[in-house]
Every structure is written in C-alpha cells, then in structure tokens.
Symmetry: C2
Subunit: 325 residues, 2 copies
C-alpha cells in the first residue's frame, strides 16, 4: 500500500468511481473525500444529499451501477404509492434509499451536523476512507438559465437539464464554513485530487466554500493538485458538463477544464492534469498552461478501470512530488 495523504474532491458518479478505485489501493487512513453538497435539497420533508449518497453507496458496495445513482436491489413501492395519491414522483426515491433519507433527516432534526451523520453512516456501512461533506451549512446551487433561476434539482432532474444555463451561484456561500476536518485534511494532503466530476456544479461549489481554496493554494507544505478531466472527446461521460460548457460559450474539451481550474480566478490551482488518450492532441495546449500531464485511458467501465486509473493518478502525483515529471 502507498503511504501518502490524499484528499479527493468529488461530486456524483464519476467522482465516486475514482474514489472507489482510490479506496482499494490506498491505506484507509490515507484517503479523505470531500463531497459536494450543493445538490442537497429538501423534498417530501426529507434532507436529500445526492452526491454524498452516491459516494457512500459506491464505497459501501451498495450503489446501483446501472443508473449511477441510488441503491442496488432497490424497490419503488413508497414512490409508487405516493404517485398514486398524486404526490410528486419526479425525484426518484427508492425504498432502501428512503431509509437513508429518513434516518438522516431524523438525526439532523435532533441537532446532529451533516458531517456527524455522514460519519455515523460510514461506520455502519463499513466505509474506510474519511468522507466529509464540504460544509455542514446548506449552500444550495442555483442555476441561472434562459428560463430564469432554478434550484439545482429542478434544473437537473425535473427539467432534465433542458434549460440553457447562463451561470451558477451558491446561495449563502459567503457565510458558510467547511465542515470539521476539511481544512485540516487539505493542509496535510500531499495530493489533492479533483475527481472527474462536473466542474461547474460539483467541484466549483466545493472550491467556493470560504477557506477551502485558500488551504489548497497554501503550498507551505509540499502538495500536488491534480485534476482528472470529466470531458472525453468533447463529451461528458455522464451528466450535463459538456452541454453547460457550450451554453457558457466555451468549447467543451479536456483543455477547457484544465483552463477552468488553472484560471486566474482559481488562483492557478493545478499542478497536474490527467486526460484521455482520445484528447492527446490537446497535450501541447494543456502543458502550455504550465501543467504536467498524464494521458491515459480515463473511462471507468469496470472495477479494474477504477483501480488502474487510481493507481496511475497516484503514481503521477508521487512523481510530481518527487520532481520526476
């Protein structure tokens, strides 16, 4: 096992897959995952945390790998019963999944913080890495679009990402704080890994929490910040990332994502960048941003893919740390 401190920033299924690969090749104390909570919302009186659940279900071996969300061996009887009564069934909540939301909501109502609830669930589910919500505060991602402002799940699930986006903001983020352990894990990290998640709505919300980007940028301790492109051959593996880039007037490409994280606005966050063989032609453009690059197969179809990519990324990070790139 590799003795190295790694912190991964993750959104939904792409991030969850790479994190799963990492969890299988790193000692459990080595890995911390900071998860986007901008997608979280209240629905049917329940607090629902889609990215947190996607990551935890994946790490627990409970994930539905076909849908990319929800649980395996799921049933849908509660939602069917609710739909028969005319209730809102647009957000697909399976029965086993509902148990998670009911218990989380109950504990939050008792005064526990989301990070405490998450830690408890991870213990029950036998999840070895530290999984931290980016914040215990609610910071709902708002989508600005040609149809006006939409709450994220209204845009993402109810409207199926059809409105054309013009921007995003994270409501209340000015006064939000990172959840306990987030800043310490980042300050101790040797590799900070930005997973192949949606830059606009999965990673940007994490980086926007006051104090997170600052700790990543603080290089008093040697640290390599590496991103894995969620864009392969101009398309997102899953989700609306490429569509968002187009609507924002940006060519959706591996290089665009590298520019996104490497921009002035981000303070030149990245050291290294991992992207797919299919985009090898962009290597010069990306190295031109001052980034070390690793060109490999980034598509994770199987468990072996996840472990191989995780190994390659960590190996790349170690070489960067050793100054061998």
């Amino acid at each position: 096992m590799l003795e190295i401190k790694v912190v991964a920033l993750a959104g939904g299924v792409g991030g969850a897959k790479l994190v799963d690969g990492l969890s299988r090749i790193l000692p459990s104390d080595s890995l911390t995952v900071i998860v986007n909570t901008g997608d979280d919302f209240d629905h049917l009186g329940l607090r629902i945390c889609p990215d947190l659940d996607t990551v935890c279900y994946m790490l627990a071996g409970l994930a539905n790998l076909t849908t990319g969300w929800g649980r395996k061996a799921e049933t849908w009887n509660a939602l069917q019963s609710l739909a028969e009564l005319g209730g809102p069934a647009w957000f697909r909540l399976g029965d086993r999944d509902l148990g998670t939301h009911l218990e989380r909501t109950r504990l939050l109502a008792k005064g526990y913080a989301l990070s405490e609830v998450t830690q408890k669930f991870c213990e029950v589910w036998g999840i070895a890495p530290h999984v931290l919500p980016m914040s215990d505060d609610q910071i709902p991602t708002m989508v600005q679009s040609d149809e006006g402002e939409l709450a994220f799940q209204d845009y993402f699930v109810k409207r199926k990402c059809q409105p054309r986006v013009t921007g995003f903001y994270f409501a209340g983020i000015e006064s939000a704080q990172p959840s306990p352990g987030v800043q310490q894990s980042l300050s101790e990290a040797e590799i900070v890994l930005i997973c192949p998640s949606n830059p606009w709505v999965s990673i940007d919300p994490i980086l926007a929490v006051p104090g997170i980007k600052e700790v990543i940028l603080d290089r008093a301790k040697r640290k390599q910040v590496i991103a894995v492109s969620p864009i392969i051959a101009g398309a997102a593996v899953k989700g609306p990332a490429a569509k968002m880039y187009l609507e924002m007037g940006i060519n959706p490409s591996a290089a665009s994502v590298a520019q996104h994280y490497g921009s002035q606005d981000m303070g030149g966050l990245l050291n290294g960048y991992v992207f797919d063989h299919l985009d090898a032609g962009q290597d010069q453009e990306i190295t031109g941003l001052g980034l070390a690059t690793l060109v490999t197969n980034t598509l994770m179809k199987t468990l072996e893919d996840r472990m191989r990519l995780a190994e390659q990324v960590i190996d790349f990070g170690k070489k960067l740390l050793d100054g061998n790139v």
Copy 2:
C-alpha cells in the same frame, strides 16, 4: 339497497371490518365513518394516522388482513435500511404505507387539513363512504400507567401494552373541534353505530371531542344509537381492551361495555346493543340497562361475516326506528 342515513364511529381493525361490511350493503351516500385520530403521532417527521389508514385501506381493498394494520403486498426495505443505520424501527412502516405518510405529511405541511387530505385519498382510492377524521386538531391520547404517562404508540407498539393502565386523557381536547361534516352527518343520522372498537382508546376519544356527544344525544330528530361489543367471552378479538378493563378494575364483558356507553357520564348514549351468542347469558343484565339487544355472531372472520353482521345491525336499527323491538 337500504335507504337510511348511517354514521359509524370507528377505531382500528374491528371498526374497519364492520364499516367494510356496511359499505357493501348501503348506498354510498348513506354511510359516513367518523374515525378516531387520538392514535395519530409524528414519527420520523411523518404524520401517521393508524386508525384512519386502517379504515381507508380496508375500504379500498388495500388492507393487510393478516396483520390487521398496514397494506397488503407490502415490502419493508425502507425500514430495513433505516434499522441498519440504527434508526428507530419499532413502529413498523412498510414501503407502500410510507408513500401514504409522505404524501399526507407533504399536504399537511402545505396547509391542507387532515379531513381534506383524507377526502383526497378516498377519492383516489375509490372509497365510496364519507370518511371523516374525528377532528382536524391534534388530540393525542395519553395513557396513564404504573410506569407513568405514555404517548399512545409508545404504550401500544413500543411497550406492547405491557404497562398497567390507570387512566387515559386526550391532550388538548378542550379546545378541539370536530372536523367539517362530523356534526352535520351526526345530526342527519338515523342510525349512529359505535363499531366494535376499543371503548377506552378508540371510541371515547371520538365522543370526547366537544360537540360530538352533544349532537348524538340530541334526539330532536329520531335517531338510534347502537353499539357492537368488542368483547366476546371476556376477551377482545384484537388489542388490549379486555386487559384495560381488568386493570381499571372492571370485569371485561359485553355488559361492561354496554354500561360504559350507557353510563351517566355518557349521558345514556345508547338505545341498542349488539353482542355475541357466547355472551347471551348477559342479556338480562344488558336489557336491565334499558337497552334493546341483538344477540348474534359478532366475530368477523370473513367478508361474508362482515356483510352479515352489517345487515343484522342495520336491520336491528331499522326495527328500533320503527319501534318494533
């Protein structure tokens, strides 16, 4: 079909069975059911109305006749998932049943009254009789016991009726009101039928809502008030009624229930009383209370039993109305 206005007061499964029988022999406009809501409680953030659901599921053909509560063809995945996370699983909530509670809770939070929600659900479920909660106000039944005061479901489900009861009260009943339609249906009723439900915790709460007993007692319009004994041969068919009578120092018998409803405290509510052949020996005692009696087979094991008992009870009521008893 019999053209007669009937209002039934019902609690859980015994009441639901007789109401189901009535619904099959009366025109839909003839029957109104007023259901106990003293058992209602908030659990896992959901408003749960056990008696209302038992009655509605029964009338809709959705009831689990084996358990006497919950829905048929039920699954338990949400509760299992919640229990795995350490959540409270003592109150058994099935997945299909959860859909009901989620939608009811959502509508109540939007400002609908329980009676409005119930009416909507009855329409969806194709329930012909008018089903009315006794009140739109929350009137939680409290059980006084040798272990102190217990919320009803804590006594009934969590503690499995083990504490010895010393009394009951209905919190907040002084300021509660009957739900819309309750008083009008009672004032128009020709037969008011007290179903074979627990007198202490299913029927007494209904009768204790200010304005309900008063309308029943108002005989300006000719009206017969008939109760069906929930006690057969000293035992309750289901539930703790007999145990409660014993603990309250009263012999659990058909006659005791007749005395209960016929007492001074109740204002001499009853005209007629229906009880089982097995208790025929108590007929003199019961007629001695000034009640007309019908001795028959009151145990409802089959659908035919429910319909037969319903027919006999209505026939008995008509004879009383006609002065033929």
